[in-house]
């Protein structure tokens, strides 16, 4: 059975690939393709956030009693990244290549500093603290994340 850290880290990378696909098409000026790819990235990212907010974080909070702890911080960063995604979408709708590149760069760094914290600190804490509930949660998370990635 894989760990929560393995499963969620793998999904981070899959989201990165969706992001890169959208970025590539926008850089090529293929706005229709980029819009489709951005939708796919958006679905994958939101599926990941939702799985965390509705399944992983509540389980961690229940196991540790920490409701104002790391999960609260991560929820706040999800809000920032959803806003970043909307700015990216606005640049795409305006067919503004420079703005899209700048917003994409900003969102990528925002995502990766968030991912670093989750992969190095929060997910290992989840694996350590969730005990025997971990395997069942992994299965549920796998189902929630499945089939969201296109590339």
């Amino acid at each position: 059975m894989s760990t929560i850290a393995d499963l969620m880290t793998h999904d981070h990378r899959a989201c990165d690939h969706d992001f890169a696909h959208a970025e590539t098409l926008a850089a090529q000026g293929d706005w229709a393709g980029a819009a489709e790819a951005l939708d796919a990235f958006s679905r994958a990212l939101n599926a990941h956030f939702n799985a965390e907010e509705q399944q992983l974080f509540p389980a961690f909070e229940a196991a540790t009693g920490m409701t104002q702890g790391p999960t609260q911080v991560m929820r706040g960063e999800h809000v920032d990244m959803r806003a970043g995604l909307e700015r990216l979408r606005a640049a795409l709708e305006a067919h503004d290549a420079d703005d899209f590149a700048g917003e994409a760069e900003t969102l990528l760094i925002m995502m990766q500093q968030h991912n670093m914290k989750e992969e190095n600190i929060l997910y290992p804490m989840c694996d350590a603290r969730l005990g025997h509930a971990r395997d069942e949660l992994c299965t549920q998370l796998s189902h929630s994340l499945a089939a969201e990635h296109t590339s």
Binding site: A5, D6, T9, R13, D16, H17, F19, A20, H21, E23, T24, A27, Q28, T64, M66, Q68, G69, P70, V73, M74, D80, R87, D98, D99, A101, G102, E103, E105, T106, L108, I109, Q112, Q113, N115, M116, K117, E119, N120, I121, L122, P124, M125, D127, A128
Partner: protein, 423 residues
């Protein structure tokens, strides 16, 4: 700030001014190294000229160390859950000591002032010591969890390499300035200090950072787990063994270990280039290309170092130093600064509830691309300058421009940050 949030909250990262002071001071040392090349006589004719010693320390203990310490104070909370106690105090005191120390040491080496050499070395040791003790205190309080990434462990190994480099440096300063007798000949002690510096500290730090930065920010496949598991400890063990062999005068063993270390570092650079060639990002920007050029410069530097193992002509070691320090570390550090500083400015504005301009509005591509192109021109001039003093002076002039421009680009970010704050 709850102890339940080890390193996770934005608040756990130090205020903008903490790392920024290092990032803005660093280019001034690169600029001074250029001045030494411009004004000194035959600076690159040998690694032992006062000018070469001063320039190397301005670059390594000035430019490189400032950025590396500043960046570690930013990245350790995120990667290893380290919360620095009194982050601003640690940043302020270590920055002041490192700045004065590097100035004193380089000035002492350039002008042959033993007191300045010793004073500078001791101040540097003090600055490094404050940073390392604070990092250690933070590490002890960080959560003990099992993770797949070897980056946090290798960051710790690099810090051990820094401590060894600093202690060896002070011992050398005392030997040169006070005539303290070392247990091994001076040139060998200098070799140990230099190798622990560029490989034990700089090399392991660059690799540990790359384990994270290359796959995540450049969207490449990850480094193979078996490689990252063994590389850092292997290099450190190799360095310890090589140092012992050198100290005990076991020439055969030290040569074999030296070649092994060179091959080990080359493997890291080659693997990084291979992974980068498989990036999913279709439009590699100037910092990405600069990072790749840095890896190529490291490979060329290692080739020069290998030649130096077989042939002790002066130019090989100078060439290796130029390629590894300026081409390798200088290029990689500049590339990372161009990502770190705009993001920190963006984060600072966002945390203050201000609608932040995106990264490329805070720092447009064009000046970055041009400054990094100049970096390559400087490297080419430095390589030629090893063989012709007149070109070394031109390299110095270009280097002054390179680092002045780097500083201006950093200041441009701050200017845009201030403008965003007031609109």
């Amino acid at each position: 700030m709850s102890s339940a949030n080890p390193g996770l909250a934005y608040e756990d990262t130090p205020p903008l001014s903490a790392p920024l002071r290092f990032f803005l001071t660093a280019p001034l040392f690169g600029l001074c190294a250029g001045l030494v090349l411009l004004l000194g006589d035959g600076v690159l004719s040998s690694r032992w000229t006062p000018g070469a010693l001063a320039a190397v320390h301005l670059f390594a203990a000035g430019f490189m160390l400032q950025v590396m310490i500043g960046a570690l104070q930013q990245i350790l909370p995120v990667v290893a859950g380290v919360r620095f106690p009194a982050a601003l105090g640690v940043a302020g005191s270590s920055h002041a000591l490192l700045t004065l120390g590097a100035m004193g040491l380089a000035g002492g080496l350039a002008f042959g002032r033993p007191d300045a050499i010793i004073g500078g070395a001791v101040l540097l040791l003090g600055g490094i010591g404050i940073f390392l003790v604070a990092a250690l205190a933070g590490l002890i309080r960080s959560p003990s969890v099992k993770i797949a990434s070897h980056a946090p462990r290798d960051l710790r190994l690099a810090m051990a390499g820094l401590a060894v480099t600093a202690v060896l440096g002070v011992a050398l300063a005392l030997a040169i300035g006070r005539g303290v007798v070392l247990p091994l000949p001076l040139p060998q002690a200098v070799d140990l200090h230099a190798t622990w510096g560029w490989l034990g500290w700089g090399g392991i730090l660059l690799a540990a950072t790359s384990w994270v930065v290359v796959p995540m920010f450049q969207i490449t496949p990850g480094y193979p787990a078996r490689f990252t598991r063994w590389w850092g400890p292997g290099v450190l063990a190799g360095l310890v063994s090589w140092s012992l062999a050198r100290a005990l005068g076991a020439d055969g063993a030290s040569s074999v270990l030296g070649v092994t270390l060179v091959l080990g570092f080359a493997a890291f650079a080659l693997l990084t280039l291979r992974l980068q060639s498989r990036t999913r990002r279709s439009t590699p920007d100037a910092p990405f290309r600069a990072f790749r050029m840095a890896m190529l410069a490291i490979l060329a530097g290692l080739a020069a170092l290998s030649c130096n193992l077989a042939d002790d002509a002066e130019h090989w070691s100078v060439l290796a130093g130029v390629l590894i320090l300026h081409g390798g570390f200088g290029g990689a550090i500049s590339a990372m600064l161009y990502k770190i500083v705009p993001f920190l400015a963006w984060l600072h504005l966002t945390q203050a509830g201000i609608r932040a301009p995106n990264m490329k509005k805070l720092l447009p591509d064009t000046p970055v691309r041009r400054q990094l192109a100049l970096h390559l021109a400087v490297l080419a001039a430095l390589v030629l300058g090893v063989f012709a003093d007149s070109i070394a002076r031109i390299a110095g002039l270009l280097m002054i421009t390179e680092f002045g421009w780097l500083l201006l680009n950093m200041l441009r970010v701050l200017h845009n940050l201030k403008r965003a704050r007031h609109t």
